[in-house]
């Protein structure tokens, strides 16, 4: 096996912000209608990580969300399920039991989500707890404070350590791009995470604004593409937070297709972290099916 050469992250590529924004606005001019739209929307549904990450979460709430994950809208036959549910570590077991045999993964946030302000040992235990309870995927946050100080080795080592704890669980690394202030930093964080062993890179926790935006996602997708060219290793992408309508989700798919290609267009390699997107997609699908604009009154809230 070839030895992976770790680059000097302080010298990572700089980003042409104007170019990125220009490119993103192009994606949004694509018009996707009728059968293409239906197919795209079903794909979106199948890529959603249905998420509840609130202090007020209870077992009941999580069970209810798991039911929704497997039964998105039963009066519409042939709908896919979502890809995964995303919960706090304490809810992993509840979610695992509630999902039962359904082919839906359980993702757990960890490492003192959302701030990441905890000692390494706490982060390791947090992750271990989630994995031991059966989490299939771990969504960790990076230490943004250390990153912004320029302490890239610290961030790298932390990701590598958590990756080790994950075992078979796939690791998603959250940058909280809203706190990284520049696209150059987003690119740099992407490279650090991928070289440190991330299986997925993820934009945001959903706790601060701005969360996922198209420019940030495009920068990360391009980092994934360049990493693939260098190493031949595919990395997944998960924009999270702020994607709440179908049209925008379809534009994200266009962006993935035109940046990474068809190989990434499935829930193995691309996810949406969202809670309200699913209902909007369902309403659009019902609109296409019935020809009538829909009302949220007729769709389950959780």
């Amino acid at each position: 096996m070839a030895v992976l050469r770790i680059p000097d992250f302080s010298k990572s590529n700089t980003i042409d912000q104007v170019g990125i924004e220009e490119r993103c606005s192009r994606f949004q001019t694509r018009s996707i209608k009728k059968e293409t739209k239906v197919q795209g929307l079903k794909m979106v549904l199948n890529m959603i990580d249905l998420t509840t990450l609130e202090g007020k979460d209870t077992e009941g709430k999580v069970k209810q969300m798991c039911f929704k994950a497997a039964h998105l809208h039963d009066i519409y036959p042939g709908l896919p399920t979502v890809a995964a549910v995303c919960v706090y570590p304490t809810m992993v077991k509840t979610a695992k039991d509630a999902l039962g045999a359904a082919k839906i993964k359980v993702a757990s946030v960890s490492t003192a989500f959302p701030s990441g302000q905890a000692p390494l040992q706490v982060k390791i235990n947090d992750t271990k707890f989630a994995v031991d309870n059966g989490a299939d995927e771990i969504d960790m946050v990076i230490s943004r404070g250390e990153f912004l100080k320029g302490n890239y080795n610290f961030v790298f080592d932390e990701i590598a350590t958590i990756k080790e704890v994950c075992g078979k669980a796939r690791l998603k690394v959250i940058f909280e791009t809203g706190e990284l202030s520049t696209l150059d930093n987003v690119r740099r964080a992407s490279e650090i995470a991928m070289y440190a062993g991330a299986d997925f890179i993820k934009t945001s926790t959903g706790k601060i604004s701005p969360a996922a935006t198209m420019p940030v996602t495009l920068v990360m997708l391009e980092a994934i593409r360049d990493y693939y060219y260098h190493t031949g290793i595919m990395i997944g992408m998960k924009p999270a937070g702020g994607i709440s309508n179908s049209k925008l989700a379809l534009h994200y798919l266009v962006m993935v297709k035109e940046t990474l290609g068809n190989a990434w267009l499935n829930n193995q390699w691309f996810r949406f972290g969202a809670s309200s997107l699913a209902n909007d997609v369902l309403m659009q699908l019902m609109k296409e099916k019935t020809g009538v604009y829909q009302s949220s009154d007729y769709f389950s809230k959780d």
């Binding site: 020809g291 009538v292 604009y293 829909q294 009302s295 949220s296 009154d297 007729y298």
Partner: protein, 293 residues
């Protein structure tokens, strides 16, 4: 050198904003001599959809406002309307009615807003009730707004029909999407500027211009529209509305009166877009004693 007049662009009103129609279509409005007065947006079903989303978002906070405050805001609309008298008179006359008629129409419109402003915190007492029941419950019924109301405004007037259809709906805490008169659309656009500058939150009233023949099927079939008010007498459109309305059991009201008349107003217009909620509140009733409330 002669100065070129700056002509006004007549746009639609959605969620407190003045966009052009997303379809990019328009129709020319002609005066009697055949001169173009303005280009009017020919709204599409997507404009309508966006307007319903705006109306739905505004509904919760509008209906939660104290009724008294809604009355103040309606009164404010009347004030702002009065302040634009000369502009409205000009638009009314240029669309083909005499100055005398225009004056009458304008004055009744302002008065009608004041009339409904007064009703905002009163119709509940008239139409609400405490009901005698045989069990130990305090039983009462109150009117509550039905939600989002679609309004096809009368085609035969520019201002009075619009005001008469909108005022009772918003007085009752509903939000609305209105299709203005296709034949006389000028005042509707100016009226939305009045609304915009009179404390009415964005999205409470949304005004589109265009063809009722194109949009009526969408007004009546949209699942998120709770009631529909159709002003006019086109039998086909009325039938279509009533049929489509069954999809989500929305209420349909057909108005076809002369809005200039004094009796073309009343609290029963408010009640058309209300639902009655009855509450059974358990009370202590020991040993045959009467209710203690």
């Amino acid at each position: 050198m002669a100065r070129l007049n700056i002509l006004k662009t007549y746009k639609i009103y959605i969620g407190g904003q003045f966009p052009r129609t997303e379809s990019g279509r328009y129709y020319p409005l002609l005066d009697k001599a055949g001169n173009t007065l303005a280009n009017i947006c020919l709204s599409s079903r997507k404009d309508f959809r966006n307007a319903v989303v705006a109306a739905r978002n505004a509904q919760g906070s509008w209906s939660a406002k104290p009724a008294f405050n809604r009355g103040q805001i309606l009164y404010r609309i009347a004030e702002m309307l009065e302040g634009r008298k000369s502009q409205f008179l000009e638009e009314l006359t240029v669309q083909g009615i005499t100055l005398k008629q225009a004056q009458a129409e304008f004055e009744i419109s302002v008065d009608r807003l004041v009339y409904y402003a007064g009703w905002c915190d009163k119709y509940q007492q008239i139409y609400g009730s405490v009901n005698p029941v045989a069990t130990s419950h305090f039983n009462f019924s109150v009117p509550e707004p039905t939600g989002v109301v679609g309004i096809i405004a009368p085609n035969n007037s520019s201002l009075i029909g619009l005001v008469s259809a909108i005022a009772p709906v918003i007085a009752g805490g509903n939000t609305c999407v209105v299709l203005a008169s296709e034949k006389f659309p000028l005042c509707s656009v100016t009226f939305s500027e009045v609304l915009n500058s009179s404390d009415v939150p964005g999205g409470v009233v949304n005004i589109l211009t265009g063809k009722s023949s194109e949009l009526v099927s969408h007004f009546s079939s949209h699942m998120d529209v709770n009631a529909m008010i159709y002003c006019g007498n086109n039998k086909e459109e009325i039938l279509l509305s009533e049929q489509n309305a069954t999809i989500n059991v929305k209420r349909v009201f057909v108005y076809n009166q002369n809005w200039m008349q004094e009796n073309a107003q009343g609290a029963h217009y408010i009640m058309d877009a209300q639902e009655i909620k009855t509450t059974w509140h358990p009370i202590e009733n020991i040993g045959g004693g009467g209710a203690k409330y």
